[in-house]
Symmetry: D2
Subunit: 401 residues, 4 copies
């Protein structure tokens, strides 16, 4: 089979992505897959084969000496029934961990056989929490009450810094003489951390001016940014998002080589009891793997995988079938700003149909969050199936990790 | 100034990396910096300007459609006094977060002015914790005691799977009928997760055969892999590593534009009290940012930034100067296997002088861990200085994040 | 000195409580102190010398075989400047831990020398969180939105069960098919757990009827009752309350035998860094000791010391003096119901002037909470002073613990 | 029925404890039950009806003004198959929470019908963790290595302070310039906190003398005493102990009015998922209630209920029956010292056959720990049954809480 034939077969679905390497050498297989994706999505994906130029990245790095290339694979045909994302998606994943894309792909197949994954955003809002020094508890309470009583002034301070973001609320946490104020913004299609930081600075200046207390640090670690925290688990940060699927028993047995009961049992012993005994903030098999690979591919902040690792996976047997869900309380994600502007990252967002600002604003980030949750679901399904079937390390051995 | 002149000036240190863009356009500045690095380290860094080919990445990804390019910058001249890493390092950092490399670079300057950072490995060992089903507490205890009493058999099982790894210990955690066994291996220069997984499978087979209990899952979530957990904080996973520096008051004032006391004060209110109030597992400013960027650059597993975010930063005023330390209890890191084999990632490891297996085995991974801790220290120093000086969001605004 | 003389001297303050045992044997010293308290507060404290009769306790225990007696001491003359509690209080503490009352008493002296402790309630509300089974994420969201949209129906359900309590809010937490609803009530002078449980049952019946989902458990562990949890730390449960004091350097040196700086230093290394490294939810020296002793004395639920142990102590040097604060995010406390009805417990509440319902309702519980926080503050001050001065174990040795 | 007849009937088992109040008024029912217990165990339980005298409590409290009486009930006939405790126990519980003793009693019945509870101690050792100030990471490592290399010197320091206790290990935790050393002692029948504190002081003096570093605080909060902590969950403190039972389906249905499946389901949704979502350190229904009541009755430190609340309850359907287990990682408990010397508390210990030092030393404390775990198991079984059957708040309403 020559390259052109392979492209056609892949684009039409007659050939699966994973079979390209059987027909072509690996270098040409990569090209064939990329061109097939271009055809399927009517896109130019040349940045995935390009060199990143300094002038393209000058807002993203300093002292640039080149580019670091992460292998990019695709988990094909994930069916999502979100409130925002609806359809079938070829999910780009950047990773160096052999077997990961294959595993997620298997999950996508199982999800699709099951009629797709439901996904929903549960809560939304990007946060920043400056810390102020007060004279003590009384003053800290006074400031908290002033903020409650002066929403217009606070909103004005926020809107002086951003056209897009909207202040959702300000939660005060006094601790001795310290007053932490956790501001939460609807950042629309932006992940929003810069937006909320700049807005917080304006609010901090307002408070310093009006109430005479001193800002100690624009970030007081109750944001909580890039540190695992129960606060984010309980209150959310970025998108709180969930996805679920009911996988027919037959699909579990045929695709995952195990049974619904074995996955339910494994979920209780591993993801719930094991994580409880480890005093963990993540009750899942490997949310972080999928979040990391999707975040890299789509230009998110790579350190935000920390928050993305704190989800809960549940599994139940329902009428003999397998119900599986993932809930991610804190997923900071966006489609504008930061790394989303880089050529390859943007090409990946385009593959998912969510590049740039959405219509209405926020729509693209909402879609991406739902796709992310569904992808995590597919990844959980596949790994838990592999563990239940007992062949985790064998997969790794074969795939050379 | 033409390109060749710039390369010379950069290589000799007459021009700073960050000044290259003043003399050349950004595309050529990137080339000049890379060539200067090549000259300084006598290396071929062409992979940083290359295209990743499918045949180079076939062990690292499936369904490959190309490569995702992450801008790669360098934080120059980090002086490290480790037990293993000794010298001055140009630290490669892959990130899309504008201002990060500039900030770490400023930290490296301050560290160097201070005579360098001390770094030490506190503990080492990669872990995997399979979970077994027993008949109950009595049998779980019996199995635990059998393992204690049969070290030779357990060691034989482990060494049947690996030439390099050495079993350090097996810690049992019974919970009802579940028995979790946390195996810890000295994985030498490998990060070791695959090694310990495969070894765990052999031990699991031994136990199933000898004691008649059933393996439920090769990973029981007490490993703990890629979920934030107090277990890893308390017991360590991968390298537990620390770094510290005493920054003279003058350097704090001149380079960081603040005072030792202001950083000490900020550390207490933000990194300690703020994180405490947020019920966080990370008591630091932004360890995750530096870990993420260095992990990407050096081919580590990008999801392991989760563990890398759980460190503690301390700051003290000592004789008027600033003592700053970082302690990272769980840093999974290696120089062989996984993403370290990819061309650009290997070029970054070479820049640090730690590519491939060390001499003696484990030496390269130890060096990299110490460099990582020192880089995190530089990153903390710079960000905390910026926060104390009150210009965090301004830096971001200017740098376009 | 005979008994009557001792009573007079103690009541007038000419003799300190701790000196009674020098003038009388211990049995008569106890009587003298009790009678002096009766005189000072114009109370009948005979229940502290009585036998608990079965008919007095039939609502509090089953299969009663007698009473367990806990030694009751008094930490005298705690000066409190609360929003609710204002004055000087003789704080009853029931404990078997030798040295505890003596230590808190020392703290009370230091607080009084410092002009008293400021105390404030930061937040209030008792919670219960039933868990429901839904068909999945969509239905869970639908129920959440129904509750938001039908406040009147929910309030009616609550008020059908209680005259006193007022619903503050209902926070939904969906996890897969599970929906947790955390109800929060203003329970006035009651600790409120029964009140909110009964109200939750009514709300659960409403929801089952209206929306057709099934209640799994009236408590879904997101209440969170008697389990340490970050949720309570972050969101509060019962009273969130704080107290603070500025202790003059001279008082620190003379009463506590150390310096402000030594306590500040100890607070950072022990209460902040030590607790951080232990992945603790309590950043304090021994809040639980004082909470436990005061809870026993005043008829609180003894298991609620769990929540009462999760506070943060901060210490700062301010103009050479010592600023010390305690913040208790979750203190379930009341003055009516439960053990507060028992004779000895009621006598202790009367000693503090907070027995029974307050005027307006809630006032007595608020006062007790502020006194509790101030007592915890005194206890922290004294123990931290002892540790800083280096004589913790010596105190225990001498006092025979 | 007169009093004497009731005593006979209760002692012989012809009448149940809970039926005494039907035959007699509540005051005389209490006497009858107590006298029946005296007869059954051949004991003098008059302290349960007495007044605590000052001279009896002078080591346990200061400024004593009397005694606080806690109602004391009995949960009868708990069958325990421990490694140490074997037999049927009448468990004394001191509480003010109506319905608690009745609920635990129901659990004891169900456990007995099931053939008793298995109980085992998993790990043992009381801890104290002083914190030292070093010059930095290098010195901290040097000290750690010195301790490893000088076990004899360290053991001599410990044994100079205690005849009974044996040093088990010393675990170092360096954090910046701070070095925490967590000493663990086998304290035999003592709970051991004083013992390990005094031993730690001797070790601290040794280290200060030999290595020239300064002790900052004899307790560095990594002990971890009376603060909820993952460290204790992971490493244990005091006794780590577990209990389990297999309850036949018929017993579940008849005694608990629900089904094994309903309890298994409730355990997953409430105790595992609910606690996970709340970022809790306790994965159980109400361990703290039973620990608190038993600790009060047997003279334990009442603030140690904090550690006792961090257990995990698991439930499984096994061949149609219900398997239930509790695992308590950190239960500080003893039969000598502290409150165990008080008359009523000692009477309760005698009722369980574990008063004073055991033979061999440690045996009594081990027995008590196993009984405690089995009692917690009974309490979990009953409450979870009540919740599954849907009548929690009704029980409270009826019993007047």
């Amino acid at each position: 089979m020559n390259l052109e034939e392979a492209v056609s077969a892949l684009a039409s679905g007659d050939m699966k992505l994973r079979d390209a390497a059987k027909a072509l050498d690996e270098d040409r297989a990569v090209e064939a897959r990329r061109r097939a994706l271009e055809a399927r999505h009517d896109l130019d994906l040349s940045p995935l084969d390009g060199r990143l130029r300094g002038s393209e990245a000058e807002n993203n790095v300093e002292n640039m000496v080149g580019a670091l290339e992460i292998p990019l694979g695709v988990a094909p045909e994930l069916e999502v029934h979100g409130e925002h994302a609806r359809g079938i998606f070829d999910v780009p994943l950047a990773t160096t961990e052999g077997a990961l894309v294959a595993s997620v792909s298997r999950g996508c197949s199982a999800v699709r056989e099951s009629g797709g994954a439901v996904a929903r955003i549960l809560k939304d809002g990007m946060t920043r929490a400056p810390v102020f020094l007060t004279s003590g508890v009384e003053e800290a309470l006074k400031v908290s009450r002033w903020i409650d009583g002066n929403p217009d002034a606070v909103n004005r301070a926020v809107s002086s810094t951003t056209e897009h973001g909207e202040l959702l609320d300000v939660e005060p946490f006094p601790v001795g003489r310290n007053l932490f104020l956790r501001l939460r913004l609807d950042a629309k299609d932006a992940m929003g951390m810069n937006m909320v930081t700049i807005a917080s600075e304006a609010v901090a200046e307002l408070i310093e001016g009006e109430l005479g207390i001193r800002l100690v640090s624009l970030s007081g670690n109750m944001c909580v940014d890039k540190k695992p925290s129960a606060l984010n688990v309980v209150r959310g940060r970025g998108k709180s998002v969930a996805a679920e699927v009911v996988v027919p028993r037959d699909t579990v047995e045929r695709v995952l080589k195990c049974t619904p009961d074995s996955i339910v049992d494994l979920n209780v012993r591993k993801n719930l009891i094991g994580s409880a005994r480890a005093a963990s903030l993540g009750f899942n098999a490997h949310h972080a793997n999928i979040v990391a690979a999707l975040f890299l591919a789509t230009g998110q902040d790579e350190a935000h995988v920390v928050e993305g690792s704190t989800g809960i996976t549940t599994a139940e047997a329902v009428d003999g079938d397998l119900y599986l869900s993932v809930t991610l309380p804190a997923l900071p994600i966006g489609t504008v700003g930061g790394g989303t502007r880089l050529p390859a990252q943007r090409a990946c967002l385009e593959t998912l149909g969510v590049a740039g600002g959405g219509e209405p604003p926020g729509e693209n980030a909402d879609r991406l969050a739902e796709i992310a949750a569904a992808t995590v679901l597919a990844g959980e399904l596949s790994l838990m199936g592999a563990l239940a079937a007992g062949h985790l390390s064998r997969a790794h051995e074969e795939l050379g990790r």
